[in-house]
Subunit: 343 residues, 2 copies
DNA sequence: TCAATTTTCCAAAGCGCTTTGGATATCTCT
DNA sequence: AGAGATATCCAAAGCGCTTTGGAAAATTGA
């Protein structure tokens, strides 16, 4: 069923039917009702492609998911993020189109989306330091919004980020106040922007308390259970082992806990742990009482909100880019406690 | 840059340029080269929408991700699955469009995709027992392929599935051969088709060895770390605790291990564990030596392959639906060992 | 009652591509 | 050299929608 057939069925012109369906005023309430009724009956929906051609809009947003070509790893937060974004799109009649692409071909993909006019805008995932995608998109003139930020980018752009710096600074402070002096940082990959900010927050807290950072206690890498386990195991074997560990993801925190318990130590007593918690749907941090003390910020909410920002930016292109900085909650769970006394 | 402008630039007709770019024979090698060169120089790509309108194809595949409205949970395997599927689409010039939808509105979404002609076909995720989506899609005439199967569906359809039944049967046999007699099953949600098949395999092995199933040792639910932990904790507290646990996902296996170790027991010695491993990129089962003995089947490969099957089916609609049944590997890791002697 | 509005509807152009049905130029063969 | 084949290109229609510029019908005002 297409517009032509529908309008013939109704004995009306395509114009009138189109207008009735799109809420234009120049059609009487009576015929509008008749048209809507018929559209429902025949299960008519305008072809996205035809509509897009006619209006010049794509009614679609692109999500370009970078995949580390080294590790072939897709970001585990990604599922929940797009679940949030998808809600927003559904509400606004937009489609989400997804490209998963290894880091090399990224520029190509953005160019393609632009020149094929496949999307009205894109969401940038996993920004790195000095991310070249941002100037690229800016130059292409393709509206975009970034989940996170990219230090070193000079052009203004729309972003939504968790205040990773302050979150990790507060977390470190909290551990300091509990008496911890040997505090380790298990960070994400160095070139990811968020990792950089988290380290800044961590270092800033150490500095504020006249603690000098120890590179033996600062790790970074992919955030897997195994890497959390391995790093913790190594660090606990040090002569001057850390009494507290700051961890970048709940997944690696599981590994941290395992290494602690394997050594016969008790988390929250012998070793304190704070992790960042993205509130992933398949990885809850406990039921009522959180297992881990955590800096918490829902990545699904972030998806919802950032999608809204992008749609806003598309709707009024003249407005300056919005930016949102979310403060993570610091929620106290069972994984932190006072630093053990030295004997 | 559009076709018209490009062809004017070249002093050729749109027809010729279009043909040159699409590999039609009725254009001389010389002009074809000239056209391709110019297209590259001007970064020309045909508008997807216009092309789609003209050809009647969408060059897009829909993925409808059901989200349990109860738990708001997105399937954690989903990221890796679409990473695989995405590879295939990229190779064939298809786009992936994603809808995340709660179970109630699903029918609507499929209808919408069909009548708006937004996609050439869809992948069905997370099939349940007697899944009504399959007859629906069949009736709509929208090509589709299912990741998994749906017991009880009578219409023929294309699917790709792991042989969950035989995998869990073999795993149970393996535990039996190690001397285990109290074997627990931590399954996924009951109404998911794969959970049903896994239980079948488990029960069939028990029956073959004259073991009668004990409902106290059979759990099912969302597969989270916490649920694995909770269930194991409870079962280990039973007077007649299991000596082996069969687990449906690596995530919940982490919880299983935690509950075991928390009780001061050693996994692989006091309690054996076998889990299913989807080979998720962010959750590796150990580096070289697997941590868990596991039934293993890469969900990313599944995505790649199933996408290919769907594109095939779209390319020749007359062919009968393909079906692929993958056998999971049974890989032996450190989590299984002979049943402990009774004292 | 009749001109001036206002409502309500329509025909046709256009969005950017593919494809049909020629037209023209170039070869081939005898 | 000239007819038939073949290679090369083009104009125009059509895909399903929106939207512009009117036209016809209904309503209003004096």
């Amino acid at each position: 069923m297409n517009l032509k057939q529908l309008s013939q069925n109704l004995g009306l012109s395509q114009t009138t039917v189109s207008r009735a369906l799109n809420g234009y005023p120049e059609v009487s309430p009576a015929t509008r009702a008749r048209v809507e009724e018929a559209a429902r009956a025949f299960n008519y929906r305008p072809s996205t492609r035809a509509k897009g051609l006619a209006t010049g809009q794509a009614l679609a947003i692109g999500h370009v998911i970078p995949m580390s070509s080294k590790h072939e790893m897709v970001n585990p937060i990604f599922g929940d993020f797009i679940a949030g974004a998808g809600e927003t799109y559904a509400r606004h009649g937009y489609e989400m189109i997804l490209s998963i692409v290894d880091d090399k071909n990224e520029a190509n993909v953005y160019q393609g989306l632009k020149s094929r006019r496949a999307v009205d805008g894109v969401i940038v995932h996993g920004p790195r330091m000095n991310d070249m995608r941002i100037p690229l998109l800016d130059q292409l003139g393709l509206p975009f919004a970034v989940h996170g930020r990219a230090s070193g980018c000079t052009v203004p752009y729309a972003w939504l980020d968790v205040n990773n710096r302050s979150a990790f600074e507060r977390a470190t402070n909290y551990l300091y106040d509990l008496g911890h002096r040997r505090i380790a940082l298990l960070n994400g990959l160095e070139d990811m922007d968020f990792a950089h900010r988290r380290r800044d927050g961590y270092l800033s807290s150490l500095a504020a308390h006249d603690l000098s950072p120890d590179t033996a206690l600062m790790r970074s890498g992919e955030m897997t259970e195994l890497s959390g386990y391995g790093a913790t195991r190594e660090m606990l074997a040090l002569p001057d082992a850390p009494t507290a560990i700051l961890c970048s993801s709940l997944i690696s925190a599981l590994g941290v806990r395992r290494a602690i318990e394997e050594k016969g130590l008790v988390m929250g007593k012998d070793v304190s742990v704070i992790t960042h918690d993205d509130v992933l749907s398949y990885l809850k941090n406990g039921d009522d009482v959180p297992i881990f003390t955590a800096t918490r910020s829902s990545v699904r909410d972030a998806g919802r909100k950032l999608a809204e920002m992008l749609l806003d930016a598309i709707a009024n292109p003249e407005a300056p880019p919005q930016t949102v900085l979310l403060e993570a909650e610091l929620i106290v769970g069972a994984s932190t406690g006072p630093a053990p006394r030295k004997d």
